[in-house]
C-alpha cells in the first residue's frame, strides 16, 4: 500500500515536473482573450488607471497561479476581468457620448438645412401664389380683351346690319345690286366668324363688310335721295295741281320740267298789259306761288303763230315780264322768278283752229322741278 502511494506520488511529481505549472483556469484564459482584443488599446488610452488596475490584478492572478493558489488566482482574475469590463463599459459610454454629439450635430445640421429648405418652400409657395395670381390676371385680361373684341365686333356687325338694312330700305337691290351682294357676302363671313367665337377674325372681316356696306350706301343713297326728292316734289305738284284746279282760265299739268300752270287770255291781242278782269285769277296764281315757295318760278310767254315770229317773240317776252312784275308786286321774291319769251315756238294746241290758237296764247307759270329731283319713273310717266 505504501509502495503504491509512493509510485503515485512519484508519477504525480514526475508529471508535475514535466508540465511545469498547472493549466490556467478558464476565467484567466477568458480574460487573456478579452485583453488581447482590439479594444484593449482604446481602453488603455481612455482609462489608463483602470487599465493599470486590471493589469495589476492580472499579474496578481498569474503570480497566484504560479504559486498554485487557485482561489487567489480566481479572485484576482475576477477582479481583473471586472475592472476590464468596467473600463470597456466606460469607454463604450464615451463612444455613446460621442455618438450622441454626432447625432446632435447631424440633427442640428439637418435642422439648419430644414430651416433653409422651409424658407425656400415659403418663397416657392409665394412664387406659386404670385404665378397663380398672374395667371388669373392674364386670364381675366384675356377674357376682358375677348369680351371687348366681341363687343366691338358685335357693334360693327350691328352697324353693318343697320347700314345694309338702310341700304335695302333705299332699294339697294335695284340701285347697286353688285355692291349689295358683295357687302352681304362679307357680312355673312363676319357673322359666321363671330358665331364661332373668332372675334379677331370677325372684327377683321367686319371691317371689310363695313367698307362694303358703306360702298353700298354710297352707291345707293344719291339715287334714292333723288327718287325720294322727286317723289316729294311730285307729291307737292299733285297738291298744287289739285289746288289750281279751280282757277279760271288756267290749266295745270305735271311735266318733267315741273308743274306748269298755263294761264290763258291774260292779254288783249297785241297788248302787253294784263287785263284787269284777269287780275283775280292772277292774284290766285300769285298766292299759289307764295304758298309753294320752295320752287323757283319761270314765267314763259307764248303766242299763236299769227304774225311775224320775231314780233311774237318780243311780245311774249314782254307779257312774261308783265306777269313777273305782277307776281313780285304781290310779294313774290324777285330772285325766285325769271321770265322768258318763247314766241310761237312751243304751241300746245293746233294753231289752225280758233280754240287751238286761244290755248297757245298763254303764259306758263312753271314751278320748276329741282335739278336733283329727277322725276320718279311713275311720276314722270
Amino acid at each position: 500500500m505504501k509502495a503504491t502511494r509512493l509510485r503515485g506520488a512519484i508519477v504525480a511529481a514526475f508529471l508535475f515536473a514535466g508540465c511545469g505549472t498547472a493549466p490556467k483556469p478558464a476565467e484567466l484564459v477568458s480574460f487573456e482573450q478579452l485583453r488581447s482584443e482590439g479594444y484593449a488599446e482604446t481602453v488603455r488610452e481612455r482609462h489608463p488607471d483602470l487599465y493599470k488596475e486590471a493589469e495589476k490584478h492580472y499579474r496578481d492572478a498569474i503570480e497566484a497561479h504560479e504559486d498554485g493558489e487557485s482561489d487567489l488566482t480566481l479572485h484576482h482574475t475576477r477582479l481583473a476581468s471586472i475592472t476590464w469590463r468596467t473600463a470597456v463599459a466606460l469607454s463604450q459610454k464615451k463612444d455613446a457620448e460621442d455618438s450622441l454629439r454626432a447625432a446632435d450635430n447631424r440633427r442640428k445640421l439637418a435642422e439648419d438645412d430644414l430651416a433653409r429648405t422651409r424658407l425656400m418652400i415659403e418663397k416657392a409657395e409665394a412664387m406659386a401664389r404670385m404665378q397663380a395670381m398672374q395667371r388669373q390676371l392674364a386670364d381675366a385680361q384675356a377674357k376682358a380683351t375677348q369680351e371687348k373684341r366681341a363687343a366691338e365686333a358685335k357693334s360693327k356687325l350691328d352697324n353693318i346690319a343697320k347700314k345694309l338694312g338702310d341700304a335695302e330700305g333705299m332699294d339697294a337691290a335695284r340701285h347697286a345690286p353688285g355692291p349689295l351682294n358683295k357687302a352681304q357676302a362679307s357680312f355673312k363671313l363676319a357673322l359666321e366668324a363671330f358665331q364661332k367665337g373668332d372675334f379677331a377674325a370677325a372684327d377683321q372681316q367686319a371691317a371689310v363688310a363695313l367698307a362694303d356696306a358703306d360702298a353700298v350706301v354710297a352707291a345707293t343713297k344719291p339715287a334714292f335721295d333723288a327718287e325720294e326728292q322727286a317723289r316729294q316734289v311730285d307729291a307737292r305738284y299733285r297738291t298744287l295741281l289739285q289746288a289750281s284746279s279751280g282757277l279760271p282760265d288756267t290749266d295745270g299739268r305735271i311735266t318733267q320740267r315741273g308743274f306748269v300752270l298755263s294761264v290763258r287770255e291774260l292779254f288783249d291781242g297785241g297788248k302787253t298789259s294784263i287785263r284787269p278782269d284777269k287780275a283775280f285769277a292772277l292774284d290766285q296764281v300769285a298766292q299759289l306761288v307764295s304758298t309753294y315757295g320752295e320752287f323757283k318760278i319761270l314765267v314763259e310767254g307764248h303766242t299763236d303763230n299769227r304774225g311775224r315770229a320775231d314780233s311774237n317773240l318780243v311780245l311774249s317776252q314782254a307779257r312774261a315780264q308783265a306777269v313777273l312784275a305782277y307776281l313780285t308786286g304781290k310779294g313774290v321774291q324777285a330772285d325766285r322768278v325769271n321770265a322768258v319769251g318763247k314766241g310761237d315756238s312751243e304751241p300746245i294746241a293746233d294753231n289752225s283752229t280758233r280754240d287751238g290758237r286761244a290755248q297757245n296764247r298763254r303764259v306758263d307759270v312753271i314751278f320748276v322741278r329741282p335739278q336733283a329731283a329727277a322725276p320718279a319713273a311713275s311720276a314722270a310717266n
Partner: protein
C-alpha cells in the same frame, strides 16, 4: 451613487479592517446594491446584479464565520462589481441618449428629405408655369 462607489473602493483597500468596519461596509454595499438594482429599470444587468447579490451573501457568511480574509476578498469583488454595474448603467444611459438623439436626427433628416422633395416639386411647377406663361 458614484461618490459612494468611489469612497467604498478606497475603503476596500483596507479590507483587513476589523469586523465592525467590515460589517459597516457590507451594509453600505447592500444599500448601494439596492440602488443599482433599482436604477436598472430595463433589467438589462440582472446577471451582474445577481453576482453582486451572491457576493454580498458570501461576504455576510464569511463575516459570520469570522473568516476575515475571505470576507475582505469578497468585499473587494463587491466593490469592483458595484463599480462595473454603475459603469454599465451609465453606458446604457449614454447609449439610450445617443439612440434617441439619432432617432431625433433621423426624424429631422426625414423632414428635411420631405421638405427638399416638396421644394423641388414646387420649383419644378413654378418653372413649368413660369415657362408656360
Amino acid at each position: 451613487m458614484k461618490a459612494i462607489v468611489a469612497s467604498l473602493l478606497l475603503l476596500a483597500g483596507a479590507a483587513q479592517a476589523a469586523q465592525p468596519a467590515a460589517q459597516e461596509k457590507l451594509r453600505q454595499y447592500t444599500v448601494l446594491a439596492q440602488k443599482l438594482e433599482a436604477a436598472d429599470e430595463g433589467k438589462r444587468f440582472v446577471e451582474d446584479v445577481g453576482t453582486l447579490r451572491a457576493w454580498l451573501s458570501e461576504a455576510q457568511a464569511f463575516l459570520a464565520q469570522e473568516e476575515d480574509e475571505a470576507a475582505s476578498r469578497a468585499l473587494s469583488r463587491i466593490a469592483v462589481q458595484s463599480r462595473l454595474i454603475e459603469a454599465l448603467l451609465e453606458r446604457a444611459k449614454a447609449e439610450d441618449a445617443a439612440r434617441q438623439a439619432h432617432e431625433r436626427a433621423d426624424v429631422v433628416e426625414k423632414d428635411l428629405a420631405d421638405a427638399r422633395a416638396k421644394a423641388a416639386d414646387l420649383e419644378r411647377r413654378n418653372a413649368d408655369h413660369g415657362g408656360a406663361r
